[in-house]
C-alpha cells in the first residue's frame, strides 16, 4: 500500500532523507522509529504530498505522491505532529469545513460530520468553541477530522505527543479499531511501548536511511513467532568476572552489561542456544543464582540500533 524506494530529500545544509526505502502492506499497522532528526517527519510530509522529493519514488496505493497528489490526497488521512485547530470555530463548524474541503456534499457531508462527532465522542459538545476543549479532546477532534473522508491510509506523525496516559490508552484503542477496520496505518512515535502494543511491524530510520538492529533487520517483525535474539539476565554468586570469561567462549553470546554478581547477555538463536549458555556457565563452575531469558524488547532493539547515534 505504501511503497517508498530510495527517496532523497535535502534541505539547505542537511540531507533529511538519504535513500530511505519502505514497503507497507495493505491493512498493516506499521510503526516508524528513529532518533530526533532521523527523517521521520520529512518522510511523513513527503507521503502526505506536502513536500516534493529530490529523487527516488514514493507511492501510496500505486499512486505517485509527487505526480498524482490529488488522487493520493483522497486516499490518505494525515495527522501532523502538533496539529492545529481553529480555536474560533465551533466543533461542528470545524468538522463541516473539512468535510467541505474534501468535497463531501449534501447528505454525505452531514453523515460524515455526524460520524466524526460520534467517533470523537464530542457529539454533545458540537456547538462549543474548539477553544473550550481540553488538549486530549482537541487531539480526538483532529483525528476525527483526519478520518472525515474515510481514508484508506492513515499517516500519523507523533500522535501521542502531549497526551495524558488515559488519552494515550484511548488513542491506542482507536488505532486498534481502525486497524481492525482494514485501514493501513503508518505511525511514527517515540513512545516505544505504545508501538510495541499496537504495531505489526516497525521500520527503523536513522540519518535519513534505513537503520538496522543487531540482527541486521531494518524492519522489526513484532508478531514473529520466535525471536532470533534473546536477552538473558543472570545473577551469580560472588565475582562475575569468571562468568564473563565463560560466556565469551559461548558462540553467539554477547555481554551487554555487567555489574557485581549480575550480567545482561544477548544471545543469538533459539531455546537451544539459551540452554547451551546456561549449561556452559554451570559446567564452567559459575554459581548461578538466577537465570532469566526473554525475547528482545523493542526498547532494547532500539537502544542497540541507535546507541551512539544520537545527535
Amino acid at each position: 500500500m505504501i511503497d517508498v524506494e530510495q527517496i532523497r530529500k535535502g534541505f539547505t545544509g542537511t540531507q533529511a532523507l538519504d535513500g530511505f526505502t519502505l514497503h507497507v502492506g495493505a491493512g498493516e499497522l506499521f510503526g516508524l522509529v528513529g532518533p530526533n532528526g532521523a527523517g521521520k517527519t520529512t518522510l511523513m510530509k513527503v507521503l502526505s504530498t506536502l513536500l516534493p522529493i529530490d529523487s527516488g519514488t514514493a507511492e501510496i496505493g500505486g499512486l505517485s505522491v509527487t505526480s498524482q497528489r490529488r488522487e493520493v490526497k483522497r486516499l490518505i488521512g494525515y495527522l501532523p505532529d502538533q496539529p492545529g485547530v481553529y480555536q474560533d470555530m465551533s466543533v461542528r463548524e470545524f468538522l463541516e469545513f473539512f468535510a467541505d474541503a474534501f468535497q463531501l456534499t449534501g447528505a454525505h457531508n452531514r453523515t460524515a460530520v455526524g460520524h466524526a462527532l460520534e467517533r470523537s465522542g464530542l457529539a454533545e459538545r458540537s456547538n462549543d468553541s474548539v477553544e473550550q476543549l481540553s488538549f486530549g479532546m482537541k487531539q480526538r477532534l483532529v483525528l476525527a477530522k483526519t478520518l472525515i473522508h474515510d481514508p484508506k491510509v492513515l499517516l500519523l506523525d507523533e500522535p501521542a505527543t502531549g497526551l495524558d496516559p488515559i488519552a494515550r490508552i484511548e488513542l491506542r484503542g482507536q488505532l486498534k479499531q481502525l486497524h481492525a477496520e482494514g485501514i493501513t496505518i503508518l505511525i511514527s512515535s517515540h513512545i516505544l511501548s505504545d508501538l510495541e502494543d499496537i504495531c505489526t511491524q516497525i521500520a527503523l530510520i536513522g540519518e535519513g536511511r534505513n537503520a538496522r538492529d543487531t540482527e541486521g533487520n531494518s524492519v522489526i517483525q513484532l508478531r514473529a513467532p520466535q525471536a532470533l535474539v534473546r536477552i538473558c539476565e543472570i545473577e551469580v554468586l560472588g565475582d562475575s568476572a569468571a562468568a564473563v570469561n565463560i560466556l565469551n567462549s559461548v558462540a553467539g553470546a554477547r555481554l551487554l552489561e555487567s555489574g557485581v554478581g549480575r550480567l545482561l547477555v544477548e544471545i543469538k538463536g533459539h531455546d537451544e542456544q539459551v540452554a547451551a549458555l546456561l549449561r556452559a556457565l554451570v559446567v564452567g563452575g559459575a554459581d548461578v543464582l538466577r537465570f532469566d531469558h526473554r525475547a528482545l524488547g523493542l526498547e532494547e532493539r532500539y537502544r542497540l540500533a541507535f546507541e551512539g547515534r544520537r545527535p
Binding site: 510530509k45 502526505s48 504530498t49 506536502l50 513536500l51 516534493p52 490529488r70 490526497k73 483522497r74 490518505i76 494525515y78 501532523p80 502538533q82 496539529p83 492545529g84 485547530v85 481553529y86 480555536q87 474560533d88 470555530m89 463548524e93 469545513f97 473539512f98 467541505d100 474541503a101 474534501f102 468535497q103 477530522k145 473522508h149
Partner: protein, 270 residues
Amino acid sequence: MNPMIRKELRQRMRERRGWLLPSLYLLVLGAVVTFAYFIATTDGGRSNIQGSKVGVTLFLTLAYAQLALLLLLVPIFSAGSITIEKEQRTLAGLLTSLLTSAQIWWGKFVSSLLFVLLLLVTSLPVLSLAFAFGGIGPWEIFSTTVTTVLILASMSAIGLYCSSAFQRSVHATAVSYATVTAITVVTAILFFVRMSIYESAHHLAASGWYDIPLDIRAPMYVNPFFFLTTSFAPPKQLYPAWITCAGVFVVLGALAVALTLRNLRHRGDL
C-alpha cells in the same frame, strides 16, 4: 462556494477588528473631509468661493487619503493570512485536503480584499459628498474606485506572497510594509532626485510628462499615488499613462500570485 472563502469570512468577521477597523477608518476619513472642507472654504478669507473648486478639493483629498489609509491597512489583512495558518499549525490540514493551492490562495485573497473593499464601499458616500459641490462627475468616482481596487488587489497579492514566504506574521507584515514604502515613498524620492539632477544638467524645466526621459519616469509607474493621479484623466486620455500603470500593477500582482502558489505547492507548511 469555495469553502476557504466561507471559512475566512466567518473567522474575519468574528475578530474584534471586523468592526473596529471600519469604525476607525470612517472616523479618520470623516476628519479628513472636515479638514479639507475647512481649508477649501476659508482660503484667504475670500467670500466668492466656487462650489466646484470645493468639490474638486474634497474629492482629491479624499481619494488620496483613502488610498493612503487603505495601503496602510492592506498588509494587516493579507500579510498575516497564510502565516497565521503556519503559526496555528493548520496549513498542513488545508494542503492535504482536496483544496487546491489556487483555492487556498483565492480564499485568502478574496477575504482580505473583500474586507478592504468593505472599507472602500463604506467610504463611497463620503467620496460622493464632492457631488454636492459640483466639479466632479460619476466618471471620476468610477475611475478612482477602479484604480484604487486595482492597486489594493495587487498589494493584497504581494502581501499574500510575503505571507507564504515567511513563517511568522510579524516578519511577513514587516516586509509587506517595506514593500508598500518602497513603491510609494522610495519611487517618488528616486523620481524627484533624478528629475532635479536631469533639470540642472540640461538647464531646462520639462514642460510635459512625456518630455521627461523614460528611465527617469519609469519608477513612477509603480507608484500607487501616481497611478491614482493618472485615473483623473478623461476616458480618452487614459492611454498611455493609466494603461501603463495598470499593466505594471497587474504584472506585479500576477507575479506575486505565481510565487505564492509555487511556495504553497513546493514548501508545504514550512
